[in-house]
Amino acid sequence: MINVKNITKTYGRKQNAFVAIDNLTFKIPSRTTVAILGKSGSGKSTLMHAMSGLDRPEKGKVIIDGKDILRLKDRAVDAFRANKMSFIFQSFFIQANESCFDNVSLPLEIAKVPRSQRRAKVDAALAAVELSDKRKSRARDLSGGQKQRLAIARAIVNEPEIIFADEPTGNLDSVTGAVVEDFLFKYAHDKGAILIIVTHDPDLAAKCDARIEIQDGTISKMTGLPMEGKKK
């Protein structure tokens, strides 16, 4: 479960100050897929960065597994990300020069998984996205859809509890995009993981259990999530 309490993030100072997200509060239960919707500049990426501990909002709490990750030391946050979370990006960010195997192996190396266990895990992740035959291929030789599938393999290899996907299908056509979405949802359902998709695609958002719509740094609409203090 992710418990976000009153987080506020401001960029710049004084006259130039810009409030990216303003006093956001919500809870995401386990086994939930959530879409964070909003136009560019609405603050949805900032929210994702705050929830993953990449960014540190000046106010509020992000409580995951009972720990406020905003109060953890850098090293502890790094370890948290390495073991519990993973990311998928619009532009894949796979290492073009490296083999598919090495790309997928990276999160395991970062999480200090012993070498003996890595092989099986990487192979399983590649099989899950149907890229087993590309194991030794260089990542640059893959097609766009294959690259994003490789990114998914990299994201799921360490069996994270939370996956952040930032516009995962933004660079793909609708057919390959749909394939990529299916792999993501399949993992989330099979493992009971939380999947948080940042997008401005309403169709993709409709496939999620819950939706949070952000406008100018505040939540404009929220569906499918339990409301805090909803005792009226």
């Binding site: 990449l54 790094d78 390495a82 979370m85 960010f93 999160p107 190396e109």
Partner: protein, 430 residues
């Protein structure tokens, strides 16, 4: 991240930028090459000097001269002192040389630990010849049992008799012996002229010696040595014959003093100097030669260090560009939970790899090239079978390790930049 994984990833990153890695490494390689060669040259030079001094001098022997009145200061005239100026006794610097008289030799012999005092007789003989051959100009020297010689044929084992001689290969050849072995056992004649005769009638005489051994041409021998060697008694005999009655009879420029134990050489030197003599031990001689070698070595090392210094900027530049190029990769690794320290380590190891590669290439080429060139260098310099470049594993390893450390230092700044990178900024796609 485990260190082994970081090292592997660092190596892989470099392989993906082969040309750049190689070029940067080559810059260090130049430094590594120069340093390795100069260290090998220094080692070889010192070994060579050591060998020369050991095979030409005896560690129990001191070379003694009479201390000349301070150079530069004007000496008081002493009518008692056996002093000669002019062509015969003048040193190349114009100072007059004081001679060691018999009384000096006696005084030196009386010093503690001194077992033997031998003046350098250097009899001025005229020629050497053998039956049916031409006469050749020659210089006779004293055979010193403490000096090691290499023999092409025959040999002396501390038992050279007074009527025996050791010839150099060159003389054996000139005297018509087709092989060195043929000369052994044959008799050669040394001709000498008495300098001062009663009625100024030249008095010539020939002295016969049996060839006991033929010394082979060695890179270790001084040029002046190795021609004709006879026992001390024999040189003395020749000297007496040639010089007796002449003005410089029994006045010697140099005498060699033997002490009982090698360890006493230094102590005796001090005693001799207090008594007004100048003494040089084998160690002194070696020290002089080594100083010269060390200066040359220092100059060469300086060039190597300059090359390394230049290559440091190459590493900084390469690594800096690498960080800029791989901003997204660094951002991703940090997003996936790689710690600042590990990111820093990744780039530090890359720099270390470059240093290792450069060091290995440079030092490797130096060892291979030096080993191939050694025989040619020895031939060109006439060193015989002595090699000038001596590579010791410790030095080669030291050069490589040193360059790895220098590269790591050079990589600190780029590595810091990488570790401080903000992952959010790095992963912005716009």
């Amino acid at each position: 991240m485990r260190t082994t994984d970081i090292i592997r990833r660092a190596g892989r990153s470099l392989r993906q930028a082969k040309t750049r890695t190689l070029l940067t490494s080559l810059a260090i390689g130049v430094g590594a090459f120069t340093i390795t060669i100069s260290l090998a040259g220094g080692q070889g030079g010192r070994d060579y000097a050591d060998a020369i001094v050991n095979s030409n001098t005896d560690v129990r022997e001191l070379v003694v001269t009479k201390e000349s009145e301070d150079t530069g200061a004007i000496a008081e005239y002493n009518p008692e002192a056996p002093q000669v100026t002019g062509p015969a006794g003048a040193s190349p610097f114009g100072d007059s040389i004081e001679f060691l008289g018999l009384s000096d030799l006696d005084a030196i012999a009386g010093i503690d630990n001194v077992t033997d005092v031998t003046p350098n007789y250097s009899p001025a003989v005229d020629y050497v010849t053998t039956e049916g051959e031409k006469k050749y100009r020659a210089t006779v020297s004293t055979f010193s049992p403490g000096v090691s010689l290499e023999y092409a044929a025959g040999g002396v084992n501390n038992d050279l008799a007074d009527d025996e001689i050791v010839l150099s290969e060159d003389y054996a050849k000139a005297l018509g012996f087709s092989t060195p072995a043929e000369a052994v056992g044959e008799v050669v004649q040394i001709g000498a002229t008495k300098q001062r005769t009663l009625f100024s009638v030249p008095q010539r005489e020939e002295f016969g010696y049996t060839v006991r051994g033929v010394s082979s041409e060695s890179g270790l021998a001084f040029r002046s040595q190795g021609s004709l060697l006879v026992t001390q008694e024999a040189t003395k005999g020749l000297y007496e014959f040639v010089s007796e009655g002449s003005p410089n009879y029994n006045r010697f420029i140099v005498a060699s003093v033997r002490v009982a134990e090698p360890s006493q050489a230094e102590e005796t030197k001090v005693t001799l100097e207090e008594a007004g003599y100048t003494a040089q031990t084998a160690a002194d001689l070696l020290g002089t030669v080594n100083t010269f070698i060390n200066v040359l070595l220092g100059i060469l090392l300086g060039f190597g260090a300059l090359a390394v210094l230049t290559s440091i900027f190459g590493i900084v530049n390469t690594q800096y560009i690498s960080v800029l190029e791989r901003t997204q990769q660094i951002g991703l690794m940090k997003a996936l939970g790689m710690s600042q320290a590990d990111v820093g380590k990744l780039f530090t190891f890359e720099a270390a790899w470059i240093g290792f590669l450069g060091g290995a290439i440079g030092a490797g080429l130096a060892v291979v090239g030096g080993t191939i060139a050694n025989p040619y260098i020895s031939e060109a310099l006439g060193l015989g079978d002595i090699f000038l470049l001596i590579f010791t594993p410790v030095q080669v390893l030291g050069v490589i390790v040193g360059l790895i450390l220098i590269s790591i230092v050079a990589g600190i700044m780029p590595a810091r930049k990488a570790s401080k990178l903000d992952p959010i900024e790095a992963l912005r796609t716009e």
